[in-house]
Amino acid sequence: MSKYKAQVLSSYIYGTDVGPHHSMGKRNRWFHGFVASLIEQGSGLQEVEVGFRQLGRTPAEVSAAYAECKARGVELAICAGTDSAIRWSRACPDIPTLYFGAHPENNGLELTRQSNVAGVRLHLPLVWSFENFSLLKALMPKLRAVYVPVNLLSEFAFPNVRAAYAQHRRESTDFWIPGTSSWVGHRSVQFLCDRMGCRYFEGPYESVDQLVGELGKIDGPQDCAFIGFNDTVLMEDAANRLLAWSGKANAALFWVNNWPIIASGGVADFSSHFEQVGRILGKQAMALLRGKKSPQEIGFAADPGQKLSLNLRRCAELSLHVSPEVRERFDAVQE
């Protein structure tokens, strides 16, 4: 008989037919780390009953999920990813919630002040470290520009970022916002590109057709890097179409925190070490459930590490030379 009920809530829970990213949570092994931590503490899934649920998009759907959790006596919610955490925290003022996620500009940190929220604050290994970011140039010596699509319909497009984009649209019909613009959303990426000697463009999109259409207008995509964040997997079919476009256009696709997409045809993924994140969450969960500590006492743990993965087959297809020094920088290499 289970003693405690926990509910995982995420926007990243899928059926198997959506594309390679359906296995993201499984492949990054955060839950494996979580269970390993429970076992190390003399517990397991018999004591902590865990359910998984894709969190709905509308406030009504999220409120319904909250009401259901209350009715079932859920004592712990785990929000995998910022998108679900933002929506869940609006609806849930009391169930202790562990959140792990990130945003390039640290948007959304308001939720860390909510008394029922604790967890692990992640870094985004590609854009929070020039050492990692410069791997793009090491792989692509002729790199002249970095492009980042931004899904306007996800929570990652925070109100301040949406406002900036709206200002850009008032001034310009150009889809791709240059990093030098006052209205760019991920300002820090512009600095990274500037230091690396290439240009930066950000593309806020509202539909997959719009995104793919605008990608198709870029001259010489072979000398550019296209970086996906997980806001893009939140728009149906966007990741698949981006992957397909990069294949046809011989463009180099990189991702942050989603190796299955890159394993299917991208160049490299820059992830947090989710198995270690899961281990921290396991300790935090037991402190909440068994130890009866409050989320405020638990607070936020630092990102425990990173895992960089390289798809050598795709590198060969794109004629990217991978030196032994560069190869060594990656924790996992797919031949």
């Binding site: 499984k26 492949r27 092994r29 839950f31 494996h32 269970v35 390993a36 076992i39 397991g44 899934l45 018999q46 865990v50």
Partner: protein, 89 residues
């Protein structure tokens, strides 16, 4: 490690994962479905098996392999074959 030793260790891990199987007759012909193992229990079993046989024994690989077999998948025999094969590497 002999297959019989692997099986004994796996049986213990199964019972730690699912205490209601403490008295159950678990044989090499058992299937994980009839033992009541869903995907979450398989994750826990995977963690326990990795700690017993080393990190190279990644249960996800076996689960992926068995998922392709339909109703014939997820047998104890196949599981023991997998551990024998991978643990040797």
């Amino acid at each position: 490690m002999q297959r019989s030793e692997i099986f004994a260790a796996v049986r213990t891990a199964i019972r730690e994962t699912s205490s209601d199987l403490a008295e159950a007759d678990i044989t090499e012909n058992s299937s994980f479905q009839t033992l009541g193992f869903d995907s979450l229990k398989l994750v826990e079993l995977g963690v326990r098996v990795e700690s017993l046989f080393g990190e190279g024994v990644v249960l996800d690989d076996w689960v992926e392999q068995e998922s392709q077999k339909g109703a014939q998948g997820f047998t104890m025999n196949s599981f023991l074959d997998f551990i024998e094969r991978v643990a040797k590497k």
